[in-house]
């Protein structure tokens, strides 16, 4: 296996301390950070997010490419995760912002990367996060007028909707088909 190969099989769950470089630039803007499976993670607050991203962007070898943006529901708080790459390389850093679920607001990063437009809309409709300054934060994947935030852990879909309601035939075929089995015999037609 070559040098550049991502370190995969190292234990994922035991975090290591951050590298000196990241510690130096991110130290005062983060509330925590570690290296997990060879990949640094920085935990920050909504106020410090944009300064931190800018600082990562201004490194001599900048983390200039946002590849991914997603949300995670941790029960009482919602986390927004930004995955940044160092140019077109293997190195990657995850920046995480913790938001209280009651008032989940975070500044938008659409000013830095065009990529963030759709993922932010997706996180907004799936987790109920408000992206302050996003130009157009309406539904992206879900139909107009969809109620609820489906990727929150306590979300349950509306079973009375005629399009989603359970089908008696599938729920309990014995009750619907009933009778001796030979009646329903179909074979390979």
């Amino acid at each position: 296996m070559s040098e550049g190969q991502e370190q995969q099989i190292a234990s994922v769950s035991s975090p290591e301390p951050l590298s000196a470089e990241l510690q130096e630039i991110a130290g005062d803007l983060t509330t925590g950070g570690c290296v997990r499976a060879g990949r640094p993670e920085l935990l920050t607050t909504p106020e410090n997010l944009l300064p931190l991203l800018n600082r990562l962007h201004e490194l001599p070898e900048p983390y200039s490419r946002l590849t991914d943006l997603c949300g995670v529901d941790w029960g009482d708080r919602v986390q927004v995760v930004y995955a940044l790459c160092r140019g077109y390389g293997a190195e990657m850093v995850l920046v995480k912002v913790d938001l209280p679920r009651a008032q989940a607001e975070v500044p938008t990063v659409t000013g830095l990367w065009q990529l963030a437009f759709w993922p932010e809309r997706e996180v907004a409709e799936m987790f109920g996060v408000t992206f302050v300054g996003h130009p157009n934060c309406e539904h992206l994947l879900l139909p107009e007028g969809f109620v609820g935030y489906p990727l929150l852990k306590d979300y349950e879909y509306d079973r009375s909707n005629p399009l989603l309601s359970p089908d008696p035939l599938r729920e309990d075929p014995d009750a619907v088909l009933g009778g001796p089995p030979s009646e329903d015999e179909t074979g390979a037609s």
């Binding site: 879900l142 489906p150 979300y155 879909y157 005629p162 989603l164 359970p166 008696p168 599938r170």
Partner: protein, 206 residues
């Protein structure tokens, strides 16, 4: 028609399972069948029309997901659906049968119904793949997948599989042709005027 109207319309229906509709037209046709000459005439017309329908079934390709790729494969060189007179059309106005292949989501449901409404009578629907039949793998878990196309439009042929083999697809087309050959013009006249009540219209295979 938006999604909300569609949902309301479906809410007013008695149940989700297909049921045999009350068909005044069928009764009318049966009384006319009993009178000698008209029966012979209708039989001849039926034969001609049914053969015509079954030999050139133009399909509205309603490819939604994975099954659509298999539908493309059926139309391509190895399985060559043209042998059965089935051509894929993009427009509902030119189609006899709607081939719904794939996962129907909430956002797509009213589009499906609208396209179905635009098809000329007599029209048929084939539900290809388990997502189209019942929601399939999404039935128990998903919040955005319609549990079967037959909640939105009446389905004539169900093709199980995930996705079904192309042969399975061809088999379904042939069964649809069987259905068509069993039809009488007396049943199909005036379909356009029929109301939403016989939404779950059924024809049966022998």
């Amino acid at each position: 028609m938006g999604l909300r109207e569609l949902e309301d319309r479906l809410r007013q229906l008695p149940g989700n399972l297909p049921r045999a509709p009350e068909q005044p037209l069928r009764r009318w046709a049966q009384t006319h069948h009993e009178g000698g000459l008209s029966v012979a005439f209708i039989n001849v017309v039926d034969k001609v029309l049914d053969t015509g329908r079954a030999c050139s079934t133009w399909g509205l390709q309603f490819g939604l997901a994975c099954c659509a790729i298999e539908m493309m494969a059926v139309g391509a060189s190895r399985y060559d659906l043209d042998r059965f007179g089935v051509f894929f059309r993009g427009s509902p106005r030119q189609a006899d049968a709607m081939l719904v292949a794939g996962t129907l989501t909430l956002k797509m449901a009213d589009v499906l119904r609208r396209l179905y409404d635009q098809m000329p009578e007599p029209r048929y629907v084939i539900a290809v793949g388990n997502c189209a039949i019942s929601g399939g793998r999404f039935y128990h878990h998903a919040y955005s997948v319609v549990r079967g196309v037959d909640r939105v439009v009446p389905v004539d042929i169900y093709v199980p599989g995930c996705p079904p083999r192309p042969e399975s697809f061809i088999d379904a087309i042939r069964k649809l042709h069987q259905l068509m050959r069993r039809e009488s013009i007396a049943d199909t006249i005036g379909h356009g005027e029929r109301q939403h009540e016989d939404f779950f219209r059924k024809r049966e295979l022998p």
